[in-house]
Symmetry: C2
């Protein structure tokens, strides 16, 4: 998944060991998994060359990172002129987000 992190989210992530992001639409701190329970336990945080992008390496609880129920948000690949689903569906969103 790709999401936005601000200083508050970064500090909260370091402090708690759980991945936090900043929701720009809701303008609020976002603990990933707060609705689904699928929190991400931080294993390592990598920083890129110009220090404007980070990678959270995590243990994904519940095995699903995507709000659509897939293991990863990147569950489709370009296949000619269409997209082919290659991800694993872990849950049905209708069962999780009520």
């Amino acid at each position: 998944m790709l999401a936005y992190v601000n200083e508050e989210a970064f500090k909260k992530t370091i402090k708690t060991g759980k991945a936090h992001y900043w929701s720009r639409s809701r303008k609020s701190l976002w603990l990933k998994g707060e609705s689904s329970g699928n929190v991400q336990e931080i294993k390592e945080i990598l920083v890129d060359c110009d220090a404007d992008t980070i990678i959270y390496k995590v243990k994904q609880n519940g095995d699903a990172a995507c709000h659509l129920g897939y293991d990863s948000c990147f569950f489709r690949k370009v296949d000619g002129n269409s997209l082919k689903i290659i991800g694993k569906r872990i849950f049905n969103p209708e069962d999780v987000y009520k």
Copy 2:
């Protein structure tokens, strides 16, 4: 590495099989590796759930993706209050970008 892709860069990538990006600072199409020779051969392109982020899975020629000469732009990890280099230095940028 994280970089920007517009429609032109995406189409050129599909057509050539080599990773292209769009340089927002230079306002021009950017063939990754055009200076260093370290082009990226596309193996697969993944698309995320809301279709605003893609992953190029590539064979990285020259083994270095980062302009600082490391295998990856994410060559540092958070280590307490500092950053620790964990990436592999493949080349010296001064030798490559002249």
